[in-house]
């Protein structure tokens, strides 16, 4: 090769695989294309009559949305009551899992007493508990909170506990050399160092709460998105079913984005 001719920019350097998310513009463009593309695909598939019997078209779902959210519709009430169940179940789980996870991480005795039960419970799907919970609590709201609570609690306690256990030991030694007491160590080092895990735990717990919501509403309630989906199935009203599914998806997406935002704000140092 002639050494004097400058190489074209393309030849100059091998472009390495880019593991970043790419530019903001590119990201949003692709996201929009993906969403519109998905809706188009859905629309075209439902043009096939046999499919349309069990899969409502986007237009039908939109019509369902309008009628459901009309003044005499129940859409808003379903959303509110489901959201309330998720937030109460999740909130209780969040508040309980943090101290228990920290106690487990900090005191080996607590860990050894509690861990077998947590590991055992984790393998049981929360839905399996429904009969027992209903027998114990009846058909009101408490059984729904309980099911969601159990699901979210188990996920969060395990995640946060792992975080507490994995706090960098050199940081703990460093704090000791300054003269920190065990209490200082806990407040100043262990809690902030576990923060990322608390937030990851919260996101996993939120996802678990939403997944269990439907199960929690399977029995003994007339309102709520899960109950609505169930009811609509009996009337073969797939537009309502799809509306319910999409609503749950959107709620999950929004809640996750909120937690993600909090995570970014609180753990920007990471």
């Amino acid at each position: 090769m002639d050494a004097t001719t400058p190489l074209s920019p393309k030849k100059r350097a091998r472009k390495l695989k880019d593991f970043s998310d790419g530019s903001k513009r590119m990201r949003y463009t692709l996201m929009t294309i993906s969403i519109i593309g998905g809706f188009l695909l859905w629309y075209f598939i439902t043009l096939i009559p046999t499919i349309n019997t069990f899969l409502a078209s986007p237009k039908q779902v939109l019509r369902a949305l309008v009628s459901e959210s009309a003044a005499d519709g129940r859409y808003l009430k379903d959303i509110t009551i489901s959201l309330q169940r998720v937030l109460i179940g999740f909130g209780l789980a969040f508040v309980c899992s943090i101290p228990i996870a920290f106690l487990m991480g900090w005191y080996p005795k607590v860990r050894n007493l509690v861990e077998p039960w947590i590991q055992f419970m984790r393998t049981i799907p929360p839905i399996a508990l429904i009969p027992l919970v209903i027998l114990a609590m009846g058909l009101g709201e408490p059984p729904k909170y309980t099911i969601i609570f159990v699901a979210a609690f188990l996920v969060m306690v395990v995640t946060i506990y792992q975080g507490v256990k994995e706090v960098d030991k050199t940081l703990i030694r460093a704090a000791y050399t300054f003269g920190a007491s065990d209490k200082d160590l806990f407040v100043d080092i262990v809690i902030p160092a576990s923060f990322p895990y608390i937030l990851v735990g919260a996101r996993l717990g939120m996802a678990a709460s939403l997944t269990t919501l439907i199960a929690a509403e399977l029995t003994g309630t007339t309102f709520g998105l899960g109950a609505r989906i169930q009811g609509a199935q009996q009337f073969m009203d797939t537009s309502i079913v799809l509306l319910g599914i999409i609503t749950i998806g959107v709620i999950g997406f929004v809640l996750d984005k909120i937690l993600l935002f909090v995570e970014k704000k609180l753990t920007g140092w990471k």
Partner: protein, 275 residues
């Protein structure tokens, strides 16, 4: 060895034994009768093959590790735990990632009490802490990075923050475990000189572990050579080179002689280790 005045003696390690219990397999004999006296203002460097117990010895002086027998005293008082008069600088920096540079340096001050005009023990005020932090940030040439988080700093910068953090507590002794081990040659040379300058000026006592014989001879007033399996002190070499020292000291003929001698000793021990 010269006659030592008791007043000069700062840390006295006498016949220390340390075994690590291992869950499976035999326990590890990390230190087997180690005795070492560290005088005030001394710069002690410790070299020796990997696994000979250097870190163990440092941790025992720091009060972070227990020992089985023997005694370790500072000012004649047994060391029973960590304390702010012994500043530790870890190889992995150990900066708190959720604190800014300034907050990292301020953190240890929270546990320090000083005497006010009336002789009462008082804490530092927030303002005093900030001032001290800024003073030491300037000392390690990191002005402008007060509000940066550790993740935004290079390895050399992180180590400088760790040094500033230790200095801010004004410890009598600095315990440094291969502090420059992970740095490139230029940064390392720079930090060596910085450390020498501050030590010459502030006359602290330094206990410094290194793998690098060059570094040991350049910095130390006394090089401790340890041997492995079990960990023992093989030899102590007083480095008779005048301070202030700079990188140019490495050209000195005496420097070379010390270096070759220590290097040979360490390498012979290395060859003797069954592999």
């Amino acid at each position: 060895m010269e006659v030592m005045h008791m007043a000069d003696l700062l840390i006295d390690i006498v016949d220390v034994h340390k075994r690590y219990k291992v869950e499976k397999g035999p326990s590890v004999n990390a230190l087997n009768g180690v005795s070492l006296s560290i005088k005030r203002n001394e710069f002690v460097c410790v070299v020796g093959p990997s696994g000979c117990g250097k870190t163990t010895l440092l941790n025992i002086i720091a009060g972070l590790e227990s020992y089985d027998s023997g005694s370790v005293t500072m000012h004649g008082q047994p060391i029973i735990g960590p304390g702010p008069e012994r500043g530790v600088i870890f190889q992995q920096y150990a900066l708190f990632p959720w604190m800014t540079v300034e907050k990292n340096i301020e953190y240890g001050l929270k546990f320090i009490r000083k005497r006010d005009a009336d002789g009462n023990e008082v804490r530092f005020t927030a303002e005093e802490k900030r001032e001290l932090a800024h003073h030491y940030i300037k000392m390690v040439n990191l002005s402008g990075f007060e509000n940066s988080y550790p993740k935004a700093l290079s390895g050399g910068m992180k180590q400088r923050v760790a040094i500033a953090r230790a200095y801010a507590l004004n410890p009598e002794v600095l315990l440094m475990d291969e502090p420059f081990g992970a740095l490139d040659a230029q940064t390392r040379a720079q930090l060596q000189e910085d450390l020498l300058r501050t030590w010459e000026k502030e006359k602290k006592t330094v206990f410094f572990i290194t793998h690098d014989v060059d570094e040991a001879v350049l910095l130390a007033s006394k090089v401790v050579i340890m041997s492995a399996r079990p960990g023992q002190i093989k030899e102590i070499v007083d480095i008779d080179l005048p301070y202030p020292r700079t990188q140019a000291t490495k050209m000195d003929e005496t420097f070379m002689r010390y270096k070759n001698y220590i290097w040979d000793t360490v390498y012979k021990m290395y060859l003797e280790i069954p592999k």
